[in-house]
């Protein structure tokens, strides 16, 4: 998937990934896609929940060797 922005949250634990995600998304334009990397298992649930709460579109999640990749589209 093509991303307009990247955010690396590898090694970070709760709540830093969500704080960073919110900060990055604030600066993006509507319709742009963010690719976020993270290693906290909690993010699997937290990122979709945050998207639902804020109305942003959660596109995709995959995992490889403990690193999670999320794609989120700004509303």
């Amino acid at each position: 998937m093509q991303a307009d922005q990247n955010l690396d949250c590898k090694g970070l634990s709760c709540p830093m990934p969500i704080i960073k995600l919110a900060k990055t998304m604030k600066k993006m334009a509507s319709g742009e896609v963010l690719e976020m990397l993270g290693t906290d298992p909690g993010s699997k649930a937290d990122v979709p929940a945050w998207c639902e709460k804020t109305g942003n579109v959660f596109l995709e999640h995959s995992e490889e060797g403990g690193t999670h990749t999320f794609y989120i589209k700004k509303k």
């Binding site: 970070l12 634990s13 709540p15 704080i19 290693t39 649930a45 403990g66 690193t67």
Partner: protein, 405 residues
């Protein structure tokens, strides 16, 4: 590791997906009731303190040390086996991995842990022993402790948001992840999990085979620690979130889960206290009633709660949250545990005596709510406060009035 079949199905339903946090909340409350029946309801900070005191003892600073080794301290062992339980459960669910965060985050872990140690010793309780257990045990101090957590969490969250803008480098930099459960050659992880369980069973058996009642009690703390750790890791139960989320994302999931666990424990604890259930030979009925009730109402708990609230938010886990995340492999929380362990004896030796001397008796009272309100009045008061908290969390979830993100 199993032939595809019913056993595999069972294993996957337990470890394939996370459990809802409220399920964890109910199960933890049940375990807390068991701990109460066995000896004393759930607490965590005194276990950290004991481990720290043992370290000071070993390095020769006996004024901060203790004669009680970790192997004979039920709460220290409970803590250690919560870590083991979370380790096993994260291995089973393929969520284990050694995650080394950037250096700035490791420092925040250590500082957060040290602040938690000061808060827990000054306030006479952490989020688990002082608040979760304390409120269910109808301790008046639990209420001001909670107010302290709320203020501390709010302030520390402001700091984190400010840090993100002003000092973004703290949470950036090199990070590493090792030994994760997904990818190639990871079958050993589940075998290691089973091996750990066998080890715990062996220890449990060793302690409980003793003719001493105290040893049997310690054996059961090892077993319950393992179970607590697994429940915590599967449900990602987090009291920091219960206090933080309303101010951060506004979600009410964590507050509701924690309320539910307090509610279940409240019922169990009240019955135990009301009827004086327990070892009548060892504890008089009054001693049973006063379990989980600390001499911290009101200012002592408020100050301690505030400091603890700062620490847990910066570290990203309270006393117990630090344990299970440490077991899952978050190195930042290893540093938090280290900070807690080192600071707790220092705070107990130097800060707590000063605070006790400074505060008048009326601000550090051991107050059991039913003594003033009767059992009915005390339970109704706690229920009313839980209801208020629920209404606030739900209203804020909708309106986002207090949430920053």
């Amino acid at each position: 590791m199993f032939k595809k079949g019913v056993l595999r199905e069972l294993f996957d339903s337990l470890f394939g997906k996370s459990w809802p946090m409220w399920v964890g909340g109910i199960l933890l409350a049940m375990m807390n009731i068991l701990l109460f029946v066995i000896k004393y309801p759930w607490g965590s900070s005194s276990g950290y303190t004991n481990i720290g005191q043992n370290i000071f003892q070993i390095i020769g600073v006996t004024s901060l040390g203790t004669k009680v080794p970790i192997s004979l301290h039920a709460v220290a062992l409970l803590n250690i086996f919560v870590v083991v339980g979370a380790f096993v459960s994260s291995l089973f669910s393929r969520e284990f991995g050694i995650r080394i965060s950037p250096v700035g985050e490791l420092v925040k872990g250590f500082v957060g842990g040290a602040l938690m140690a000061i808060g827990a010793t000054v306030g006479a309780g952490c989020t688990t022993g002082g608040f979760f257990t304390g409120l269910a045990a109808l301790s008046a101090g639990a209420l001001t402790l909670a107010a302290g957590f709320m203020i501390g969490t709010f302030v520390a969250l402001r700091y984190l948001l400010w840090e993100m803008e002003a000092l973004p480098n703290i949470s950036m930099g090199k990070s590493f992840i090792f030994l994760t459960g997904t990818g190639k050659k990871t079958g050993w992880q589940r075998w290691l999990g089973w091996l750990m369980i066998a080890l715990v069973l062996f220890l449990f058996n060793t302690y409980t085979a003793s003719s001493s009642g105290a040893m049997k009690i310690i054996g059961w703390h090892i077993m319950i620690g393992l179970i607590l750790g697994m429940i915590l890791q599967r449900s990602r139960y987090c009291i920091v979130r219960a206090f933080r989320e309303p101010f951060m994302t506004g979600e009410a999931t964590a507050p509701v889960a924690v309320m539910l666990s307090i509610l279940v424990a409240l019922v169990g604890f009240t019955v135990i206290k009301y009827f004086g259930v327990g070892n009548a030979g060892e504890f008089a009925a009054r001693a049973i009633e006063m379990k989980g009730v600390y001499a911290n109402f009101w200012l002592r708990a408020l100050i301690g709660g505030f400091i603890f609230g700062l620490g847990m938010t910066v570290a990203g886990g309270c006393a117990v949250g630090t344990l299970w995340r440490a077991g899952e492999g978050h190195v930042k929380l290893w540093f938090a545990a280290l900070g807690f362990v080192i600071m707790a004896p220092l705070s107990k030796g130097f800060i707590v005596p000063a605070v006790k001397k400074l505060l008048p008796e009326s601000m550090q009272k051991q107050m059991f709510l039913p003594d003033i309100l009767g059992y009915t009045g005390a339970v109704v008061l706690v229920l009313f406060i839980l209801l208020l908290w629920y209404m606030f969390a739900k209203w804020n979830e909708k309106t986002g009035k207090f949430s920053a993100l």
